[in-house]
Symmetry: C2
Subunit: 237 residues, 2 copies
């Protein structure tokens, strides 16, 4: 299936930031979980602090110092680190931590994503190629009404982006050549790695991903497509 | 998500025979590919012969004699074997073999499957747990209008059913306990292995799977549910 002359058959997507608003959703979830315990934190800052541990935890796996662990498990390690650093370790019980950790399964999509994916699905195979684990991707798709053809990404490859293996496993699972697969992300580093692995690339502008003005409004690397949002990408393709 | 008091959260499905009519579809595809070359074979028998090599090829992987290879590759090995045995090896060129081998991506579903999966999807997570590879599952879903939550099975586990690892990888990918996952199949041996691994089981009657009267009209092992078809299973759950 292909709707264009580009030879592209499948689109694979970064998810956190590109498709979902992790910051606003995690701030909301953290407040819902922790405010009843009497904690009064800056909730967007809490989201930033939790997300701030993300790359470091994955680097432990990418470097081989840790065997592959699902992102849910790394998120839990990071949650414990952040609660300790904030000095509220003793105030957050285990059931609250378990529930809050699954906040990443309850993130809300940017408003263009559901109609954009529907339009793209008419002409292309669609799959996430995220560092999130399979169950996390399944829950986000159910919550936000997405129809993926498959769940690809880190758990299938048993390694984390931007390692080339993750992009290459996605292409291999679909039996496609690398140049037939378009990696879609709001992060230039992800796209640079995908391009180095041989995939085509599309940048989506999310200028406010990590707060007002703290996101990429344009790619800082060469890409095949640069789009305002997923609907714009669909019309460009 | 759960629509019943059984504790079941997800249904995972055998595909060949349980959801799709491999025999009728392969007979049709073989005829379309080979008749133009002047071959006049008994097409349903050709389908039986090709399918007849299925377990033996997978046993090479299950036993460790072969490293994991996708089912598409095993199907190709089996196609070459069958063409040689029929004495038509020299009459079938390479492009025809490549195209015919992908006939397994073009199988048609039994008529109850699409409405049955739609009904089940309202209450459960749904995924194939097949020995078919991911791209094969993706193509069957597109052809037959199925909406899976994820593609699980042999390629994720890098081993073949009825090895326990395949069922257990499916449960682990969904972050579910084994008793929260219902394996659905038309084959008692598949269900016996799933039950031994700790999953719940549902048998679907496909009495004519391999030709008239050559299929299971009832399970020959203990199962949690026995259904006439997927709509019947949906109403039982």
């Amino acid at each position: 299936m292909s709707g264009s002359s580009t030879g592209i058959k499948a689109l694979v997507f970064d998810v956190f930031g590109t498709l979902v608003d992790w910051r606003g959703s995690i701030a909301r979830e953290a407040r819902q979980a922790l405010e009843p315990l009497g904690l009064a934190l800056d909730w967007p800052e809490f989201a930033d602090a939790w997300r701030g541990e993300y790359q470091g935890a994955m680097e432990e796996v990418r470097s081989g110092r840790l065997p592959f662990s699902k992102l849910d498990r790394l998120h839990r390690r990071n949650l414990d680190l952040v609660l300790a650093r904030l000095g509220v370790d003793g105030e957050v019980d285990e059931p609250t931590r378990v529930k809050l950790n699954l906040a990443w399964h309850r993130l809300d999509a940017w408003p263009d994503v559901e109609p954009g994916l529907q339009a793209l699905r008419r002409h292309y195979l669609l799959a996430p190629c995220s560092n999130g684990n399979i169950s996390l991707m399944v829950d986000l798709a159910r919550r936000n009404g997405w129809h993926w053809d498959a769940i690809l990404g880190a758990e299938l490859a048993r390694d984390y982006k931007p390692k080339a293996a993750v992009y290459l496993h996605a292409c291999a699972a679909l039996d496609l050549k690398r140049e037939q697969v378009l990696m879609v992300a709001a992060h230039s580093a992800d796209l640079a790695a995908a391009a180095a692995a041989g995939l085509r690339t599309a940048h989506i502008a999310r200028p406010d991903e990590a707060g007002p003005g703290r996101g990429e409004s344009a790619p800082s690397v060469a890409v095949d497509f640069a789009a305002r949002d997923l609907r714009d990408l669909a019309s460009q393709l």
